[in-house]
Symmetry: C2
Subunit: 273 residues, 2 copies
Amino acid sequence: MSDMQALIKKFRVKPGDRVKLRDQDAREESIYPDKDVAKAATEVFAKDINKLQDRLYAENKRALLVVLQGTDTAGKDGTITSVFSETSPLGVAVTAFRQPSEEELSHDFLWRVHMVAPRRGMVGIFNRSQYEDVLVAKVHRLAPKDVIEQRYDQINAFEKMLTENGTVILKFMLHVSKDEQKVRLQERVDDPAKRWKFNPGDLKDREHWDEFQDAYETMLHRCSTPWAPWHVIPADKKWVRDAIVASIVKTTLEEMNPSYPEVTWKKSEIKIS
Amino acid sequence: MSDMQALIKKFRVKPGDRVKLRDQDAREESIYPDKDVAKAATEVFAKDINKLQDRLYAENKRALLVVLQGTDTAGKDGTITSVFSETSPLGVAVTAFRQPSEEELSHDFLWRVHMVAPRRGMVGIFNRSQYEDVLVAKVHRLAPKDVIEQRYDQINAFEKMLTENGTVILKFMLHVSKDEQKVRLQERVDDPAKRWKFNPGDLKDREHWDEFQDAYETMLHRCSTPWAPWHVIPADKKWVRDAIVASIVKTTLEEMNPSYPEVTWKKSEIKIS
């Protein structure tokens, strides 16, 4: 097993495992104890990701879907910006899932998700995702219990279908501690350039912290599958978070090993006048 | 008038003007005679674009739509990669318009375009666009003459509506010479890493070079409007092309001057426990 595969294994939730988020150190930094080294590593990985993405785009047969979940301030936006800092916008499509519209609510919960599944050749990034429907929907009781209960298997089946049709799926739960969230929310209130990100409503979710952590644990337990694994990423230190996610994305693309397609024409037949 | 505004004016097609592409030097490089300087300038502009895009995203009231047209090998992909090299994928959405599907063809030609118009806060980039329907559709006679004829005004009205609803539109025609296209097509045939981009069908369009240039001229004449101007960008030198487009995008975002939104809460009322 390479170092990279060992690293992935460390953060990947084995199918069937019950993760206790309380026991996972969000401040963990043993892999990247030095901030500058972590940042330099992320940059190298980002460059590799760009090269691999070019090949994925040329190959035009498969896609990569990166799903990001985490409580407010967990750093979903920041992770996307760092990990894909070197990738051409040609090859990346980010979808931010917001409160569903009336139109979306009048369909099954996977309808809007399916519509924005990445096309072949692309890296699709979900900033929030189908998992909102077993997280916020569960904690705030937006659907009956038995409906929520069915969704785990429905998501697994949906993701299995996607992978069987050429989309590789990586899911990252950005794990921040309650203390760190407090620091970051306070920063948003205090910093004029971040103030627009602060929504007093977020504090209501913070009051439900334990229920959200429970919902995350159930999600990780029920939906980390061999075909679409969850990773729990220590996210209190942004540079550690970025470097780990970037390394897993890079290694996954390397394993996919996309190749330039064979052409159907012969060089000798081409005359450009 | 600032230097930048003078530069924009140089490449912008005045409403009603008849551009003769033959008289526009695709190799023009007087503005950026030095390749390294041009590349450095593009990088600086790209960083500025990123900062301005952050503010556009935060403001969440307006959008910028960048439309790129040009013959095969004109460098639409390369321009996007260079000009938005520093922009987070969070704030940029690229749409590549391909051959319309049966579903798309069974609607009016603007239907698929409207669906992917950028949402507020975003920079939307069209890699090809609604203009394919007055270019390829005209040259290859995919629609009757009078239908094509109506489309110029229909596009103008559509774009006017978009701008009146908060989307600023910039349109760039990447102008390459027939000689340079030959060089680039041959490169695609010869270079194993570019071979996948070559499609023998492109040679058929090359045979219709003059008809395409005519169609472009009509498009520039009919659809460079005060609200959605066309720019003819000399594109034989990639570094010149990138620097000019980047400077126009940057200057336009500066003129939009997006601002962080006012918040609706008072700092003193926020208690994070």
